[in-house]
Amino acid sequence: MKYMFIMRATDEAIEASKAMPFEEMINKMGAYNESMINAGVMLGGEGLADLSDGSAFVVDFSEEPPIVTDGPYGETHELFNGFWIVQVSSKEEAAEWASRCPLGPGSKLEVRRVTEAADFAEFSDNEYIQKEEGWREQEAKLRAENA
């Protein structure tokens, strides 16, 4: 089964992390990723840019048409700032790996099981479920070409 580790941090935690030498952080995260690659469990992951470069925005669907804004993320938001996808044999194994992530106070990993085709078995004839596989194909092709 696959799990996604969703990394979230409060503003305070993000501020605190800026006090730590960036290279030290990269080294710690790198060692963590490497340990999961060496164990054959890591399938992928990405980090997300923080808000400072103005690249982030929010699309709010509570109105029609949806409203695009630079925020707000709320006053006590926990910013989603990266994720991993791992392949493990149990919830407990996912928990073991997640707890090894080098994060500090104020940071959280939300751990979620990735749905599989079996979760949508009753919709397997659905045109869009099949199309989704097509999208995955394009993505995979790109990835293979860039590898």
Binding site: I37, L43, S89, E92, E96, W97, A117, A147
Partner: protein, 446 residues
Amino acid sequence: MAGTEEARAEAAARTEATEHSVTTERSGSLEREEATERAAAVRRRLDAVWRIEGARIVAALARATGNVGFAEDLAQEAAADALRQWPDTGVPSNPAAWLTAVAKRKAIDAWRRADRLDERYQELARGLQDEDAPGWEPVPDDVLRLVFTACHPVLSREAQVSLTLRIVGGLSSEEIARLFVLPVGTVQQRIVRAKKTLAAAKVPFEVPEPNEWGPRLGGVLRVIYLMFTEGYAATSGERWIRPDLAGEALRIGRVLVTLVPQEPEAHALVALMELQASRFGARTRPDGTPVLLADQDRTRWDRAQIGRGRAALARADRLGRGRGSYALQAAIAECHAVSPSVERTDWAEIVLLYEALGRIAPSPVVELNRAVAVSMATGPATALAIVDELAAAGSLRGSHLLPSVRAELLARLGRSNEARAEFAAAAALARNDREREVLERKAAAT
């Protein structure tokens, strides 16, 4: 350090004991139920820790003791202690360190009991007692030594597979038994016997000498692939695919690649397994009946996994040492993976790849697969000649593969009566229940 931990564990145990005495009025059965649930939770947690740390723990013990069998015994005893103690004390904050420390103490106790504290062992015992002693942390090559020992040629294939799953994959006997649908006792016996064989043959805890490296690495790759194929197309039993077993093989393959990154065939084996596993979702219907390649819904192939497989094959190719047998098989699987349908598959390329494979790794199964590819590229008549030649040589006797391919070719040539007889013959030889059903249906429909 260890002292504080023990004190903490004791305090935790005392707190729990108090809590227990407060709730004595609760029914005994409820408490028993909770105790069982607690034990099961510990078991699951231990299994997870073992899967991640088991190889390194056993490797460290093997390095310190020079004996993989003894190391594995110690590790198992430590795990048994954990199962007994953790439900009451709670899981320690660093379970792997706890297990290692317990196993180390057991090593020293065992030597004392055996009165073998001669100079060498005294030194080892001192090293084992000192937490920070160098030589205790496994060096990366220790896990590789473990892989080579578990797949050592003095062991039977079954023993190699079980021992690899156990000490490299970190699986318990129960988990291995479940994967192979075998009684737990059988798996335990295999592992005990494997350890005795390693001891009797005085197998050193070392990677092979350069002149043996190639064949020994080939042996390791074969063990992993055998594990995978047993999961991919189970040779017996009622299920056709055991994705969990194939998944374990793939995981161990990925571990191996990080240990020998300069070996193209290790990358190629991972590529082959990723590409074949990408079809799992389409290979069975919800009721478990197999769907053959031609009939598979290709939109259900796992494209992300195909991407990983192709990337692994590209890494093998980039090492620039040409394609070995796994790379050729992966390249064949890649041809299928990138084709939108059976008709639009590059069968001519597949025929070339099978010809190359047949030259470096000749086998009747490869020849039979080449015949199938030829039938698609050129036509069934040419292919039938290849199959008939195989049959005349008595190859694959007793396997359902040859008659089932022959039956398909005869059916395509319109020789229905002969085809029906061949399908029936193939069905009679199939050992997997699901496969037999498919062949019987074909016999009836021809």
